[in-house]
């Protein structure tokens, strides 16, 4: 018998980390330490839970955005989907039991994703253009549904989702973490997940391997719509009110989180873990700028620069 060398390298997780990840982690740690030292209010359970609640919206949207970016696309309509689904889940409570209202809102999210995916996969249109168009349609539809902010009728709607606590720990971030784990599992351990990732790398090679490219692309956009819808519902629940004007620019935060987390806009690269940390980093930065009383206009400038720096540090030489 010949002895055969193992082909699968048993690399420990620590060797899989790239230098860009280290830069990211170190920067993150320094930021964290310095802020804790400078601000008494930063490293307190109250503030940390606060941050964790604030990142949930972007956290959910970013999962969906990650999936479409992996598939080589992008979805600009997520911000508007947040508004529409939030206001539907809230407003429909007047007509039906809350669980149904939530289900309808989620279904609407899936439907929006299906329409986006259909135009992109079946009619072979550019994701940017298709979702830019649907962005306008959805925003309009939101105002058609309700011009005024809607308050939830059902008190449970507030206390269970965005406003719920287990002891001192808020519920919504826990749900989000569970969904990040599910997204990781989906992308790495299931057939559709691997297929979507491969499509972003080379659509034609995947088609010629006998895999249904159109179906998987539509699935990716449906998942994106679903997560945007979930984000909208939880946001309305946390704020206790749903605004038709909410969500402008949310798509950009989500794209930023995915890219900071190692995603590449041409598709095929990126992951759930990276995106999670991207969301976290953006959340901390927002919180810090607020705590240091930086004016909101300056905040935007600082955030833009941070995104650029993050992307440059991940640049392949």
């Amino acid at each position: 018998m010949k002895t055969t060398t193992p082909l699968i390298e048993k690399t420990r997780w620590m060797f899989k980390i790239r230098s860009s990840d280290i830069i990211f982690i170190v920067t993150f740690a320094i930021l964290f330490l310095v802020s804790s030292l400078l601000l008494d209010t930063f490293f307190t359970a109250r503030n940390l839970f606060n941050i964790s609640r604030q990142i949930v919206t972007n956290g959910f949207i970013s999962i969906g955005m990650l999936i479409v970016i992996l598939a080589g696309g992008v979805d600009l309509s997520v911000g508007c989907t947040v508004a529409l689904c939030g206001i539907m889940a809230t407003g429909l409570q007047k007509m039906m039991p809350t669980p149904f209202a939530i289900l309808v809102a989620l279904a609407v999210g899936l439907f929006i994703g299906f329409i986006n995916g259909f135009f992109i996969a079946q009619l072979k249109l550019q994701p940017f253009i298709v979702t830019l168009a649907s962005m306008g349609v959805i925003r309009g539809a939101t105002y058609v549904f309700s011009e005024v902010p809607q308050s939830p009728v059902d008190p449970l709607f507030r206390s269970l989702l965005g406003g719920g606590f287990i002891g001192a720990v808020p519920v919504a971030p826990l749900i989000m973490i569970v969904f990040y784990f599910l997204a990781w599992f989906f992308l790495n351990r299931t057939i559709p997940g691997r297929a979507i990732t491969a499509i972003g790398g080379n659509k034609e090679a995947v088609r010629l391997a006998g895999i249904n490219v159109k179906g998987h692309l539509i699935l990716a956009y449906m998942l994106c719509g679903f997560f945007a819808s979930a984000a909208g519902i939880i946001l309305a629940s946390r704020l206790g009110i749903a605004q038709p004007s909410v969500g402008a620019g949310f798509e950009l935060d989500a794209i930023a989180a995915v890219v900071i987390g190692g995603g590449v806009m041409t598709g095929g690269s990126g992951g759930a873990v990276g995106t999670f940390f991207g969301v976290l980093a953006l959340g901390f930065i927002d919180n810090l700028l607020n705590q240091f009383n930086v004016q909101s206009y300056y905040q935007q400038i600082v955030k833009g620069i941070i995104i650029l720096v993050a992307v440059v540090s991940r640049r392949k030489s």
Binding site: I8, T190, I191, G268
Partner: protein, 519 residues
Amino acid sequence: MNAAAFLRMEGITKKYGGTTALKNVSLSAGLGEVHAIVGENGAGKSTLMNILSGAIEPDLGSISLGATTVTIRSPHHANSLGIRAVHQEFSLVPQLTIAENILMGKLPTRGKRHIVIDWPKAYEKARGILAELGFAGIDERTRVFRLSVSQQQVVEIAKALAEKPSVLILDEPSAVLSKEELSLLFALIRRLKAEKTLILYISHRLEEVFEIADRITVLRDGEVIDTVMCDSIDQNDLIRMMVGRSFEEIYPKRTTKIGKEVLTIHNLSREGEFSDIDFSLHRGEVLGMFGLVGSGRTAIARSIFGADPPTSGSIEVDGKVLRLHTPHNAVNTGISLVTEDRKRDGLVLTGTICDNVSLASYPRMSNGIFLNRKLQEKLVEEKIRALALKPQKIKAFVKTLSGGNQQKVILAKWLLCNTKVLILDEPTRGVDIGAKVEIYHLINVLVESGVGVLLISSEMPEVLGMSDRILVMCEGRLVGDISRDKASEERILQLAAGVSREADGLNIALSGITMEGKA
């Protein structure tokens, strides 16, 4: 010869980290010479030419042009010294016109400030350059993306020649040219030679090298093995110098018994591509398919696989008619296709070896939707080992592999899904001789296990060396079905050029290929 040398590269050494790409390489060539540089992939040909064209700097060594020693700092600097290179990857902007591409950076202007482009003059100039090169038939206002790959090659060469360089580097120029275009290119090279241009010709195809070159420099593992006069050596010796292997060893003999019909094609047509194709493929058979560029070979392969479905006709696998013509259905029935351009439609470059090999076999590795990773790794590992893929790590990214190993990843993908009919479209394009031999060996192993192989190739030695039977395509029609013992190079070329009637075409076709095997 050395006394007349215009270009002298001496002691060129280049290291990348631990590996030495070039070791003390010296090369000299005179004006009016066609100097071929041959060697396996990775022998250092491209590195040497990249140094000469200013894309990379050598660690050691000197370059002199005429009497002066030069340090080439950038491609732009190389251009100003009269060195131009035509690379395998085109540097054209597809959305712009031919004229604008040829004259890029030097468009004629008018007015005092030289801001406004003088288009009539630009078109005239471009037309002049094209006509001078013997390509007068192309409209210089056509946008480049509308051109065929070989026409783009012509534009690329025109661009390089627009400034009358004294040294012209042609890196695998024939890879995308048809035989007619190749003979035009050769005529052009002879004319440039008469005008005292030094041409450095890099090619895999030794037949061409023998036809066009005066001298040949052989590189192996970054070192110059020898520089020889073209007429003092034959092809077998040259191959031995390049790889240390003889012609017989490249095409090993097979003793497989040919079995039942596995694929039967009836009256297969696809509008505008090919019509009324009839043939059958047996288990354990290698069926070669030869044809010039545009003869419909690739289109047939894609049709059988369902990538571009046929408009009429039938495809039978093991006597069962295929109803749906989609890649999905083809894969399920046991047909697989290794495409011509592995980077464009064969590989997921962002993925690992494991991802790529699994791609067509996910249903086997899962219970419905969840991936069984243990099983996946076991299956992939088996195939990688069977194919002797060299960096044996299944988690390595395919973009880090060499061309030969990438091709093996694609073969592994199809081996894994129990293929019965394997269609190979130019499987050894851009692959070095070492990897070629391994791929031929793999084909033989597959055939012995009962797979039927349809081997599409424009390399005559490959078709003659590997096939049991040879199909010949010409202008979308199947014009020949010849068994190996009755096939000869002349016969195949005659059929492929469609010149049983037209005598002129034969000359064109033959001019591109020298008689292989007789050397």
